[in-house]
Amino acid sequence: MSALGRLKSWEGLLLALLVIIVAVNIEHSPYYLGVGNIVNLFQLSIEKIIVALIMTLVIINGEIDLSVASVMGLAACVLAWLFEMGTPMPLAIVGGLLAGLAAGLFNGFWVAYVGLPSLAVTLAGLIGYRGIARILVEDHPIGNFPEWFNLVGQQPLIGPVTVSIVIFALLFVIIAITLHSSALGRLVYVIGNNLQAARYSGIRVRLVKMTLFGASGTIAALAGILYAARLGSVRGDMAAGFELDIITIVLLGGVSIFGGSGNLAGVGLSILVILNLRNGMGLASITGNTQTSVIGALLILSVLVPNMAQTISNKWNGRET
């Protein structure tokens, strides 16, 4: 099947892109590949790439979760709100995670059991959860968290590698194993590429979808809490707009927006491409806004290019026969 061929060449394309970007960056800064810089590279976008991992599963399953950035904000705000009310920090963290789980399951309920399109449901979530987050913390930033919490965000754990990066690495492995070796991963693919066949095989499609949305909410909450720890304070609008980077990473990684295909290796490569690209643009003193524009363009291109390639190859084949 040509999808397989496309996938392979797509990863090749990403790898080539990565090599070029890294080469250009080294040109700009000879210390680019230093350990410190690489840690920094990951650290600056760590929350986004954590959420991109679970988003990969959601999109392969044929759905989308636009509410992740708002859930990140919600979890951080719930945590801050609980903390301000005098809740011990560990409990406040649990509270934040539970808020994320609840938000995810709420999305999942409407998608899996009521049958609404995830696009509409999570767009409502994007607005609504952000609203709740802001109601909780109002307009003022909340900080003064215990020292150990702030350290979670920045403290090197193994050598220069921070807690967040370790969490990312662990999650990457766990999700890679889940997607490619576990029963759940198998079902995610089957539902994504042929939901009816999954139903006709006795698979509990709704349960799988609920699980994924619940996991998406929980992991987004975890990322939001890590973000709060890294910044040392929480604001109502934190992580706003992150869904753009997250979805771009996943689609650039070769995951089909229509579900059913893609793999975590591609997403891993895409993470490296985006991180290095952002960093390189930073080195070249390109502003954050231009960077966002470039990410937006990448998002469109990551769907447009395969589409065009297919159109051209179809025309080519048509001419041959």
Partner: protein
């Protein structure tokens, strides 16, 4: 029940219930807020609704064809800013030219969306999520993060929001609101009485059949994005007039309010049904909510939480409740058809029993 079913369609039930909801909201807020029933409240709501309504009209056209345009907020920001800059530099530009420039810029940005969706076959959510970021990024870069200030604008523009076209008692009908109303009427008429408008419904309603009968789907989808861009451009001009001070943040997040207005207004997110009038009602509902919560001194953030809930309920009611209503109507139809014709000519409509 028969006359009711004859004159009130399930689709209109949706709009009527929204109208009812608006009335209930006004009564509830009126009982909670002192001096609610005054011209001041009306005027405030009217001017805040104007911008959302104009953009929502374009969004409705897009959603009717089973697409979505998330880039409208950025287009509004771009046009407001660039038109403002243009005007600040040439204070004596003819007003009509200014409006045309805003609309033209919006159309170009909309056309870019349209090309990717119609001919690039990239899902509209992806394209416009991307251009949402790109247009905003371009705006910030090209502007150098400077601000358009009220003092730099000609006086006709600064005074525009307070221009009254006419007033009924204390209720002012201001230029901006009337402009929005005019747009609504034009597009309501266009979607009801032009073959072109009806074809948009056809595409969203059954894309396969639309293809089979040879409708130019790509061109029509492209057109809706251009129109959405053009109307966002117009809304950008209105934003400039209303606020005067335009930062690069202008219009940020507007797309969410607009999508909310459209969906709450009964435009089906799957395309094919809904009206421009409905979208306006949705915008009014949101305007009322916004102003009333403000007056109640409830955190403005409640608005977002409520918006999210409203969207969800609107989509769910389209999917679940309307289905039920329709089958109720259909059953009534069935009885009518099953009636053997030899009873004489079918009576026009029977009176309710």
């Amino acid at each position: 029940m028969n006359w009711l079913q004859r004159y009130v369609r399930p689709e209109q039930v949706r709009e009527l219930s929204l109208l009812l909801l608006i009335i209930v909201a006004v009564i509830v807020f009126g009982s909670m807020i002192d001096n609610y029933y005054t011209s001041r409240t009306f005027n405030r709501i009217a001017s805040s609704v104007a911008i959302i309504t104009i953009v929502a009209v374009g969004q409705t056209l897009v959603v009717l064809t089973r697409n979505i345009d998330l880039s409208v907020g950025s287009i509004v920001g771009c046009t407001a800013y660039f038109t403002g800059t243009l005007l600040a530099q040439n204070n004596d530009l003819h007003p009509l030219l200014v409006v045309l420039a805003a609309v033209a810029l919006g159309s170009v940005l909309g056309a870019i969306n349209g090309v990717f969706v119609a001919w690039g076959r990239v899902p509209s959510i992806i394209v416009t999520l991307g251009t949402l970021a790109i247009y905003r990024g371009l705006l910030v870069d090209l502007s150098g993060a400077k601000t358009v200030t009220t003092d730099s604008l000609p006086s006709w523009l600064v005074d525009l929001p307070r221009v009254n076209l006419f007033a009924i008692g204390e209720f002012d009908f201001r230029a901006m609101f009337m402009l929005a109303l005019m747009i609504v009427i034009i597009f309501q008429v266009g979607t009801s009485f032009l073959a072109l408008g009806r074809r948009l419904y056809a595409i969203g309603s059954n894309p396969d059949a639309a293809k089979l009968i040879g409708l130019p789907i790509k061109r029509l989808v492209f057109l809706t994005f251009v129109l959405s861009g053009a109307l966002s451009g117009l809304a950008g001009f209105v934003t400039l007039a209303r606020f005067g001070n335009i930062t690069v943040e202008a219009g940020r997040g507007l797309e969410l309010e607009v999508v909310a207005a459209v969906v709450v207004g009964g435009v089906n997110i799957f395309g094919g049904s809904g009206t421009i009038m409905g979208a306006m009602l949705g915008a009014i509902m949101i305007g009322i909510l916004e102003q009333s919560l403000f007056r109640l001194q409830i955190s403005e953030f409640w608005r977002d939480a409520l918006l999210g809930l409203l969207i969800l309920l609107a989509v769910a009611s389209d999917a679940v409740i309307l289905q039920r209503l329709r089958s109720l109507w259909a059953r009534a139809d069935l009885k009518f058809i099953a009636k053997p014709p030899d009873d004489g000519p079918a009576p026009e409509r029977r009176a309710p029993p």
